[in-house]
């Protein structure tokens, strides 16, 4: 009974969604109906929001990758919030699974996996670091870079059942990275005029040392995401007594 009702509701929902999606046109965003209005003085701009990003990213932020520029600069506040959500979740996980570390025996992994993962780990970590350092030049950035680092530690957890993240080190890393992010934002308030505003020289677009605060913030995010994701995986892996 419950299933039938659910199927009917879900199909109705499917139909509604499809009908509504057929109204969306994949339009060019340069068209007139998308021209935005400035909330503070009420004036109309003669471009739309996406076309502003596309034509001005390089001059305004110095980043080549427009997505990175939006994530770190234009909508950096969202990213601060997002990092905070992850931080909240990591805190919640360790708060709720606090005293469950225990010693049920797990089967040992075989030798090849063990030695191989030891060999591969530095390369995985390097790849992760590469991804988040080059975030403003190539696809990628702090989040995938951090995830790659976490997957390196995940591999270690798989091959060594007794491998645990050092809790103190992880928590210090994540707080230092978070503090860096928020502090750079406050420095923007001090040296420039608003929170998270860029206060460093933009440099030549296309080089590593360019785009002002973007690389610094992305490195902080990379460390933070990497340590939080590995600590989450570590906590969930633990065996209860």
């Amino acid at each position: 009974m419950r299933k039938v009702v659910a199927i009917i509701l879900a199909s109705a929902f499917f139909a509604v969604l499809l009908v509504s999606f057929s109204n969306i046109q994949q339009a060019d965003y340069g068209e007139k109906e998308y021209y935005y209005q400035n909330p503070i003085n009420g004036s109309y701009a003669n471009e739309s929001v996406p076309s502003h990003y596309i034509s001005n990213t390089k001059n305004e932020t110095g980043a080549v990758n427009a997505v990175t520029a939006i994530v770190v600069e234009y909508r950096g506040f969202d990213t601060l919030g997002e990092v905070t959500v992850l931080f909240t979740a990591a805190t919640g996980v360790s708060f709720l699974l606090y005293k469950t570390r225990g010693g049920k025996k797990r089967t040992e992994a075989n030798l090849i996996l063990k030695e191989g993962s030891k060999l591969v780990l530095p390369f995985i970590l390097l790849t992760g670091a590469y991804i988040f350092i080059h975030g403003h030049l190539t696809p990628g950035g702090g989040f995938p870079g951090g995830a790659v680092i976490a997957s390196g530690f995940l591999l270690m957890m798989l091959s060594y059942p007794k491998f645990f993240m050092k809790e103190r080190a992880v928590s210090v890393t994540e707080s230092m990275a978070g503090i860096t992010f928020a502090f750079i934002g406050l420095l923007g308030l001090v040296f420039a005029s608003s929170f998270l505003q860029n206060f460093l020289p933009l440099g030549d677009a296309g080089y590593i040392l360019s785009a002002g605060i973007i690389p610094i913030i992305y490195i902080a995010i990379g460390f933070k995401v990497g340590s939080e994701l590995s600590s989450i995986a570590d906590k969930l892996k633990e065996v209860q007594k």
Binding site: R2, I24, P50, I54, T79
Partner: protein, 110 residues
């Protein structure tokens, strides 16, 4: 019109909703929720796509770019989805260790 993508989006969201409504196993419900989140992310990216556009990374030869803003939003949404899932799994592990089951018996009690 991008029918394959939109049909996938609608299907993922309604399959997820069906799972939440019909299934009793809590783990299954959270798997359904993660499918739903994937669907929403695909929706955002599809909205930002412009036929014939290229990725919004400048590479010398100027072309038409797709809309970068939804991509930035999806990056945020993916990480948020993972955070919620992690917390949910923690609670499920806790619940299982106390009650020995993940089946949801009592239902909505008004």
């Amino acid at each position: 019109m991008m029918w394959p993508e939109y049909i996938t989006v609608a299907a993922l969201i309604s399959i997820g909703l069906y799972g939440v409504m019909a299934k009793k196993n809590l783990m299954k419900i959270f798997i359904a929720l993660s499918l739903m989140e994937t669907g929403v992310n695909l929706l955002l990216i599809t909205i930002g796509y412009i036929p014939g556009g290229t990725a919004p990374i400048e590479n010398g030869n100027f072309a038409k770019y797709v809309d970068p803003l939804p991509q930035a939003l999806v990056l945020t949404a993916i990480v948020i989805g993972l955070s919620v899932t992690a917390l949910a799994l923690t609670l499920l592990i806790w619940y299982h260790s106390k009650t020995g089951t993940l089946e949801y018996r009592r239902g909505m009690r008004w």
